[in-house]
Amino acid sequence: MMATRTTDVQTDAEELVKARESQAPAKQPLVKPVDDPVIYPLELPESETRLTTPAVGQRATRPDGRLHGLGQTQYIDDITFPHMVHAKVLRSAHPHARILNVDTSAAEAMPGVLATLTGKEIPTNSFGPTLQDQPVLAGEIVRHRGDGVAAVAAVTEQIAADALEKIKVEYEPLEAIFDPLVALEEDSLKIHGGDTNVYASKVIKKGDVETALAASDHVIHQQYQTQMVEHVPLEPHASIASWDGNGRVSIWSSLGRITLGREDLARTLNLPQAKIRLIGTIVGGNFGGKNEITNEPILAMLSRKTGRPVKSVFTRGDEFVSSTIRHPFTMDYTSGFMNDGTIIARKIRLILDGGAYCSWTGTTIGKGSILAPGPYNIDNILVEAYAVYTNKTTTGAMRGFGAPQVCFAYESQMDDIARTVGMDPLEIRLKNAFNEGSSSPTNQSLHSVAVKESLTQASERFDWKGWQND
């Protein structure tokens, strides 16, 4: 049910805020300057690169680049609407807990606070690109510290932030798991119920890896690990929602994928897609981190409750704690190879720390597994990969979907193989690298392959052969 605050209450709140005149921002300069000091160039010639045909291959300058340099680009936080209010989200106090009660009454009573929202009020409180296992605002359980538990809309950001401190949440703390290897254990606590914390797995099998390892001149094994990494877009996630008299909601968002974003909004808000307009602005850095909805449904609900446009901008802290991050991988690599450096077998096991929710793990485990053997002709391959839930920050899409992790492993091992057989790192790679028409680990015939070309060209540019260590 959508509770709408009465006009009286709103007016009261506004009066109170007005009374605190010195604390509420005055939106316009009181002394209007005679000449606005902002003068933008209007008659600038275009760069030749934009005027030349053929267009492909030109080092064409970017029309958005000029506006960036002028400070004229409008990111979400640069947009304001009349009567716009600000939302903040309260984050979980525990990595894993049952929510017993959320009491927002003290927050709602604060002057300047127009509405609050809890997970129970979200029509369909789940989303996710593969599994819909993530709540918009946690309803019954929080599974990591970044989970939102309640939201506030207030006339200023500061009042909204102050109001969060007035929200009383009763938790029953639950056992939490932070180590993916512990989460894999049979008797471990199951973070999303069921009988396992493994929520995605992948197998890539080619040839007969065990026989080939047994037939190899050399077998080496190494475990590699990578860490959790944040995207750090310079622009924090931001959005504005505004409900109109026709029952349509317009949402300006820093999302990088609006078509699917609108599907998620329609689902969570239980609205027809035609009633939702999602507008992407210039995004101030994405890198995979802005490919899911975050506060958008919350703002839509708050806009409907308050009758005002509602904006929220992540703090830098929210950006770390509540947006997705890169999956840490634990990677076991065993390679079998011959005295001449030919790699004949590679056996790989990948454990992905999946964090609290699935997010883009499906894509990450898929790409990570397919790419894991590296760009090499290896006839016998076995890759087994598992993603497990932990009570940590949600891991999702980040530039490369698992590829930087597995590349760290397979390329470290290439050098160790080279050393084992006494070959130069360049030679071992040239010997094993894909050719045009090579068969990939999934038996796909590859076209426009350029591994060897890139190796040769890079080595020449670097002067690999002439290089001396000192």
Binding site: N286, R399, F401, Q444
Partner: protein, 331 residues
């Protein structure tokens, strides 16, 4: 003592989603003065996607980049797009844009054919004109053709199209299949200095040679590679979200250590000459793969410098020094 080392790493990376449909649609409308408007549902997230898509539309229509205005990212106005993800925009959305522009161009050819008294299939669009193949002096401007088409024949030059990369489902037991339609390849080589008394690693230079098929805009591809490397340097040496009892201990830019301008090496970037017949004008993609091989190139260079294998990232000074000391203890 400062020890120097070099290391290389190569990589492969797919374009688009893993098997799953990830379509893009696009609409191109040629205005009656020969300029054009492109509608795309993708979002500019900094890569220069809109510039590249505009260049693709311009190329297909035979006009210049500046002649095409790109409208993007509004679900009320622009066609569906899977979005700025999976290094797919140039390839997938680019193919959709090219197909849409070609449809609009076909309408121009049909109207220009009677103007030039030839068949439509004898025409080409280039240098802002529609001209007879082999007889470039016999031509009309694209604006003239578009005006004639829209205002005389009543057949506005508009094309809409979509593209989804063809894939084949993977076998659940073996993974066999065709999860992606195309891949890109690259090699990066790092030159590093390691202070063997502190474990500090200074990356002096990285040479990066990447394949992206045809570079639609080489300047933007270089920018992608340089930026990807900076993420790779952070991944290799410094960046890590740390936890204590499930709480992040460094959720801020003071203590989460990403590279500043002083931490980035000199970068030398080149592109492999390549052409993918399945991509728009031979193009594949460039976004994500740029960040892939950097860490391995750096840790291989660390090995070359001081003889220790870093198996756990990031290779912080403390971790490198610990490895050096362990090696000394053994030998």
């Amino acid at each position: 003592m400062i020890k120097r080392g070099r290391g290389m790493a190569c990589m492969w990376y797919p374009i688009g989603f893993t098997v799953a449909a990830n379509a893009s649609a696009a609409t191109v409308k040629v205005n009656t003065d020969g300029t054009a408007t492109l509608l795309t549902g993708t979002v500019e997230t900094g890569q220069g996607a809109l510039t590249v898509l505009g260049q693709i539309a311009a190329e297909a229509l035979g006009v210049a980049t500046d002649d095409v205005h790109v409208v993007s990212a509004d679900t009320d106005a622009t066609p569906m797009d899977t979005g700025a993800i999976a290094s797919r925009t140039t390839y997938v959305t680019g193919n959709a844009v090219k197909l849409a522009a070609e449809k609009a161009r076909e309408i121009l050819f049909e109207s220009a054919a009677p103007m030039l008294k030839v068949r439509a299939d004898q025409l080409e669009a280039r240098d802002r004109r529609i001209q007879v193949l082999g007889f470039p002096s016999k031509s009309v401007t694209i604006g003239e053709a578009a005006h004639y088409s829209e205002n005389v024949l009543g057949n506005p030059s508009i094309g809409s199209a979509s593209y989804n990369p063809p894939t084949v489902e993977m076998d659940p037991e073996t993974g066999a299949g065709k999860p992606f339609n195309t891949y890109v390849y690259a090699t990066q080589i790092a030159d590093v200095e390691v202070d063997d008394e502190t474990g500090e690693v200074e990356v002096k230079k990285i040479v990066a040679v990447h394949d992206c098929g045809t570079p639609i805009n080489p300047m933007l591809v270089e920018g992608q590679i340089q930026g990807g490397i900076s993420m790779g340097v952070g991944f290799a040496l410094q960046e890590e979200i740390l936890f204590k009892d499930g709480v992040q201990v460094n959720p801020n830019l003071t203590n989460y250590i990403m590279p500043t301008s002083l931490d980035m090496p000199e970068l030398e970037v080149e592109l492999v000459d390549n052409y993918d017949p399945t991509g728009p004008f031979g193009a594949k993609g460039a976004g994500e793969p740029t960040a892939v091989p950097t860490a391995a190139a750096i840790t291989n260079a660390i090995y070359d410098a001081v003889g220790v294998r870093i198996t756990s990232l990031p290779a912080t000074a403390e971790r490198v020094l610990t490895a050096i000391e362990e090696k000394r203890a053994i030998s």
